[in-house]
């Protein structure tokens, strides 16, 4: 009976049409320029609003999660359960004085946070949040994202270098060495998914997981790649236990020691949005993006799962990974710089290569789970 009811749903959801905002704009351009302009404006406003709202929401969530991990309440005063705390903070930061220290490299000091923000924005627009919500769907999506995330490091490096502050300098040196090292592992684990999916386009990678998410379908290889990605991207996000460039208790703030007011908040914002991007990327590549959770053969269950809109699936998976990253942050101590390097070069890198080799073997022997 239930099968009969939901069987219909399964059929309708069999294929998802991917229509990105840029597609819509190009289509509309031919028919109605005004409509195209409307779409473009919508995109711009959407991204701008999304960026700041998401940043504030994530900061609020982080504070609440941290508070409850630590047996306290967190922000409670501004708005219901402190919901508006981030807004208040943003206003405060806007009103703060903007200080450029003596003998700092003014130009680099000024543009460093802008670099961070731009890199973040660029990463954000590629994420397929649901079949119909993706600003740009590049055919080289995976490569583009890793390129952009390297670009963000530049902001941090410049900030530390231009501050004329020794702590910042130490932070910048750490940041440079750390981010580029872990970039290799990120790229390697993304390569595994590319190998499975046979595409670099993020929407196609999501589509390729129709029969099963890559974290399951690739046997252990998918799982290993997922965890390598998670570890390496936590390191790239500059979050504990890998927050050495910032290392509040060692470097008094690291690369952003000299930054105040709004420019400081740019680094902060970029860090949090980057956390979202990394989580969304992990969800997209390994956990099926907006694909609902299916178990082969159980049509009723699958039908029920299909009832949940894809956007919610994406949000749920991303939230889960964000929570994981926060959980790690509030639990573990910080690594030391030599240990950090050892972890990457002597553990993650070899594991990544072995995993790649295993993945290639899997693909050539067609040994997937869910072969139907």
């Amino acid at each position: 009976m239930l099968d009969f009811l939901f069987g219909q749903l399964v059929a309708t959801h069999a294929t998802f049409d991917v229509v990105t905002l840029s597609d819509r704009t190009t289509q509309a351009l031919a028919e109605d320029p005004w409509l195209a302009a409307g779409y473009a404006l919508l995109g711009l406003a959407g991204v701008g609003g999304f960026l700041s709202l998401l940043g504030m929401a994530l900061i609020y969530v982080e504070r609440k999660v941290a508070a409850h991990f630590q047996c306290r309440l967190g922000p409670m005063r501004v708005g219901w359960h402190g919901m508006l705390q981030s807004v208040a903070d943003a206003i405060k930061l806007l009103l703060k004085e903007d200080i450029i220290p003596d003998r700092a490299d003014r130009v680099l000091f000024l543009i460093a946070p802008v670099f961070s923000i731009i890199a973040t924005t660029l990463g954000l627009i590629l994420i397929p949040m649901s079949p119909s919500l993706q600003v740009v769907d590049l055919n080289i999506g995976v490569i583009f994202i890793s390129a952009v995330s390297s670009f963000g490091v530049l902001g941090i490096l410049l900030a530390g270098w231009s501050s004329n502050n020794k702590w910042s300098l130490l932070g910048a040196m750490r940041a440079g060495a750390q981010f580029i090292s872990y970039e290799i592992s990120v790229t390697l684990s993304l390569l595994v998914v590319t190998l499975f999916a046979g595409s670099l386009q993020l929407s196609e990678i999501v589509q390729s997981q129709q029969d099963g998410w890559w974290i399951w379908r690739g046997h252990i290889v998918g799982l290993v790649a997922f965890f390598v990605f998670l570890i390496a991207s936590t390191a790239e996000l500059n979050r504990p236990p890998f927050d050495l460039p910032e290392a509040e208790s060692e470097l008094t703030g690291g690369f952003h020691t000299e930054y105040s007011g709004l420019r400081f908040s740019f680094f902060f914002l970029a860090e949090f949005i980057n956390m979202f991007i990394a989580s969304a990327l992990a969800a997209t590549l390994f956990l099926g993006g907006w694909m609902p959770f299916h178990i082969g053969g159980l049509h009723t269950f699958n039908g029920l799962m299909d009832l949940i809109p894809p956007g919610l699936w994406f949000a749920g998976k991303t939230t889960f990974i964000i929570f994981l990253i926060m959980w790690v942050r509030w639990t573990f101590p910080r690594l030391r710089v030599d240990q950090l390097m050892r972890l990457e070069w002597k553990f993650l890198l070899p594991v990544g290569f072995i995993n790649l080799f295993a993945a290639a073997t899997l693909v050539i022997t067609k040994l997937y789970f869910f072969p139907w």
Partner: protein
Amino acid sequence: MDKVEIYLPILIMVAVGALIATVLMGLSVLIGKRTRSKVKMQPYECGVDPVGDTKHPVPVKYYMVAILFIIFDIEVVFLYPWAVIYDSLGMFGFLEMLVFVAILITGYFYILGKGALKWD
């Protein structure tokens, strides 16, 4: 999908990002208060006058890491096109990859033996 126009939104996004940042920073300069003093503009060094300069030579190991990164990351990026068409390459692609990665691994063991990855 191979049109150049698809990259247009990216250019726009760069502009948007820069625009948001610049406008907000301008706003902050406009409404934020400003008082300057000699001590305030000093770089922070835990509350005492900074000694010496920050423009020091950085230990060479950091550059070592940068060079190794370039080698390894570029190699990995070379593997991307291979990964995309791997399904159609079949056994040939697999063996080619083996050769490629073998060379890479040899290099890895070489730098390992040379002690380039020793941090201290």
